[in-house]
Subunit: 122 residues, 2 copies
Amino acid sequence: MKQYHLGIEATLEIIGGKWKALIICLLISGAKRTSELQRHIHGISQKVLIQQLRELEEDGLVRRHVYQQMPPKVEYSLTEYGVTANKIVDVMCTWGKENIKRRQCQGEDIVLLEDESMGDFE
Amino acid sequence: MKQYHLGIEATLEIIGGKWKALIICLLISGAKRTSELQRHIHGISQKVLIQQLRELEEDGLVRRHVYQQMPPKVEYSLTEYGVTANKIVDVMCTWGKENIKRRQCQGEDIVLLEDESMGDFE
DNA sequence: CTGTATCCTCAACGATACTG
DNA sequence: CAGTATCGTTGAGGATACAG
């Protein structure tokens, strides 16, 4: 019998990885292909990306859709349950933006480049 | 110049570690001693706990207060800024609880033992 | 393009002992 | 009790090559 002591423990197990919240964040704006995701997640390798997607799939947050065609095309999207994680990701985005502003005011040399090219292209 | 593409990236850098959100969660209910924290965070070693606390301190979320006495006593608490992270931790707790319920309904053998002994003692 | 399989590296973590 | 130092382990993640 697995035991938790706080709700947050379960949350961290599922989206506590280094990249998962970010992946969900990107998928909120719509289904994305593997390569698309990788392009938007700076520093992640293909191997790890796919691995994280698999785990999110197992936990019921992400759905994988294969188009039978050549060349291959695969899209990942959020399940209805995955969409509920929106709540978390959303506050994380907001808080993060404020954090960046705060640090800029303190003189840190950082910048937030809002990615334009995300909504709908392909 | 450090570049971010989404607000959430900054958030993950700061509280994306394995334990940090949990630590903040525990500190919301009030200042805690090192040993107290360790007791509530199952599976963390003292070394890592202190390390994470130091990082949270550097990022301005946590304050360290040393009582000059023997035996030594140190308490950690949230700064005003740390308290703002409440928003994130709070949804994570809520979502986690719902996640546990959901999985219980699906037949998983898990349980959430709400820690009684947390608010005020000592 | 998507995904698997290897190999390899490095940093995070655990355990322990020790200091104040 | 709080914290540091050291050593050893392990596993996550990177790089690359290759298959469908």
